[in-house]
Symmetry: C2
Subunit: 419 residues, 2 copies
């Protein structure tokens, strides 16, 4: 698909996301729109603002060449409080040196000033081409406009989800309701996935809101655990962006007694947050650059969680596994051998592999398949979603990773780009 098609799809005027969005939890307003960074004229700016002070937490890229907003956000989150998230798309703010840091701080001021906030209460994000300084004039005018358009409801939710998109084909949003301590708690999130209109970096951004009352430290604990089980177990193309960010604001407007770490309420909150995060993570993989299929790698009974993650990641990152999934080729030896080169304890004699529900490998050797099973295997591999289950037989750690196939379209998006 040509970039032109993409842009048309992403700017289509579908006002609603179909589900409650980022302003569904009590105490939040949002807006999104076009400030002129993208040549296409597509939406490129999103603002999420809380009515009052919020507990805030973040999870950031482990890339050592981190983007300027990541560096500044880490500082702003030290007090565990924030009340606004701003994000521009079309231009990243990484590999930009001191001026990039200054621009990120200026972006915080642009939001804080008209709203009467302290700049430290604003969290910034920029996604797009790297190594170029942000067009601060356009961003400044855009923020001024969005501040006046802050609203709740389906239109604000949809605009916010669109303003952060890059090569995403569809806006991504999720919502959950839970009952905690007799009160209804809402959780919502928007995210963007892989790639740029001028393709560059598969940056992952997710912004979450909740009306739960929860302390900053407890919120951070929950966000770290939920992200580890969701956003950190997906891979489109293994290239960890310098800008990857997950942020959450908790308004406390639901009126529950403050959730503290360790209790039953915390478990329920964490479960809901993890479920929401997995939903968003799935949407990112499904809409990965050039992706036509999603596959799950369940790693069971590894020696420990670190090993399970190394094995899951080796399989979802293998170009040979990704192309086999793309072509619907039941070439399962690529999966067992990817497990074999993971930095983890692997004993082929104890390992088994199921493709869908068909066992193909057990104790170091292939299982002879009857004609009927072979046909079933071929059918499973043609599905849009495939599950591979590797039982390592070495311990009790189990994880699930999500990956997408590797298609010619991925190459088109990332190579055939006229500078």
């Amino acid at each position: 698909m040509a970039p032109g098609n993409k842009q048309n799809r992403s700017s289509a005027r579908t006002p609603s996301l179909g589900t409650p969005g980022i302003t569904a939890p009590k105490g939040f307003r949002a807006a999104g729109g076009t400030c002129g960074i993208k040549v296409s004229g597509n939406p490129d700016l999103t603002l999420i603002v809380a009515d009052g002070p919020c507990a805030a937490a973040g999870v950031f890229t482990r890339n050592k060449v981190a983007g300027a907003p990541v560096i500044v956000n880490r500082r702003h989150l030290k007090r565990g409080r924030a009340r606004a998230i701003v994000c521009n798309s079309g231009n990243s703010n990484s590999a930009t040196g001191q001026q990039g840091i200054d621009n990120a701080i200026e972006m915080a001021r642009m939001v804080a000033r008209p709203l009467g906030f302290d700049p430290h209460e604003v969290l910034m994000n920029s996604t797009g081409v790297i190594g170029r300084q942000l067009p601060m004039d356009k961003i400044g005018r855009g923020i001024a406009t969005l501040v006046n358009r802050l609203d709740r409801g389906p239109k604000a939710d949809a605009d916010a989800a669109r303003g952060i998109m890059t090569t995403d084909l569809v806006p991504k949003s999720a919502h959950r309701s839970l009952r905690i301590g007799g009160k209804i708690i809402q959780l919502a999130g928007i995210c963007k996935g892989s790639g740029m209109i001028a393709p560059n970096m598969a940056t992952m951004l997710a912004f979450l809101t909740t009306d739960a009352a929860i302390s900053p430290a407890t919120l951070q604990k929950a966000l770290s655990a939920a992200s580890a089980a969701s956003f950190n177990r997906i891979s489109v193309d293994q290239h960890t962006s310098p800008s990857d960010t997950v942020l959450i604001l908790a308004s406390g407007a639901a009126g529950n007694a403050e959730i503290s770490a360790g209790g039953k309420e915390f478990d329920a909150f964490l479960e809901g947050l993890t479920d929401l995060s997995k939903d968003l993570a799935y949407q990112i993989v499904k809409d990965g650059e050039g992706a036509t299929k999603v596959f799950r790698v369940r790693v069971l009974n590894a020696r420990n969680e670190k090993d399970a993650d190394a094995i899951g990641r080796a399989v979802v990152d293998s170009p040979l596994v990704k192309t086999a999934v793309h072509g619907g080729d039941p070439n399962w030896g690529r999966i067992t051998t990817a497990a074999g080169y993971a930095n983890a304890k692997v004993d082929p004699e104890r390992m088994s592999l199921d493709v869908g529900e068909i066992r193909v490998f057990e104790r170091g050797a292939p299982l002879p398949l009857k004609k009927r099973e072979q046909n079933k295997l071929n059918r499973v591999m043609k599905q849009k979603e495939i599950t591979f289950t590797l039982d390592m037989g070495l311990g009790k750690a189990s994880v699930e990773w999500l990956g997408c196939d590797l298609s010619r379209e991925y190459i088109t998006i990332n190579a055939d780009y006229t500078t």
Copy 2:
């Protein structure tokens, strides 16, 4: 390119390789031919035999799901002596359990019996589709034929280089002459690279011969060091095969005084062996599946060699870097950020990046390029061979990695495969 074209190219009747081949060092004969494993009728069997006992050494895959020949060869090499290398292509012998081990041992017997060798003096290799048992009847008849055709010279060299090919488009061979202790020492090698006619596994095999006199332990030391600097610093698609193998036989027929570890003679031998191995490694990358371009990643002044390797490997494995190279896109942020997610110490403030001879990034920020430099940068990125130089500014370790671009053709080879 359709598989048909490939097969035509690989079976083309060009009798000579253009350079002296695997039988150039004194004391070796070789043969290659078709035994009927490949449906295409292309060559699929190679035999290299020494006139007398040889010192022998090997470097093997680190994949924990190792192929049967790897398991048996490790055993055979314990005594440091061997005198034959046999290799079939078209069918791997991995993920094949106990029967695979038995077949590898039987393959050794098939070579040893007519030649009057001990089976432990034979080293076996199988490359191709995995999870299927070898057709031992075909291999047996093929070996019997090749034993009678063993010869020296251009035709034997070319046949041997062809019998190990899978999706390789061209046979790969290299040769070096050195003077050590007043004697001419010859080194030669053949290798195969990435992929299969029925594509499956990017197995790398290299077989080397030399007429140097050298003890097994010293030979192993030289081979390990030479491989680390060559075959272990290339990546086509990061999927470490369960069958990767480098083997060397040293006949001692050159008449030099035995090379011992640590001396000046050892240094000269190691330098020659490393140079030969780098030549072969380069040929593998250049002929990588779907590759149209080769790029070098020079990592300078890393904290230590482990860090330098982690950085080099992260860059050559990044699909975003590989597609940028493919498209000739001067998107250098993909290189600095790949370095940033490597498992190594990286400080963007001390790092610089040159594309060809153009510095684009220094001390955490992009360098402003004049129009003329920008044009030059665009031209460099369009070249068939590109060098990226990352100076980490953290220590004294420097390495060089080789990678190839990622093209639609890679996807075609590996996905569109009818089982």
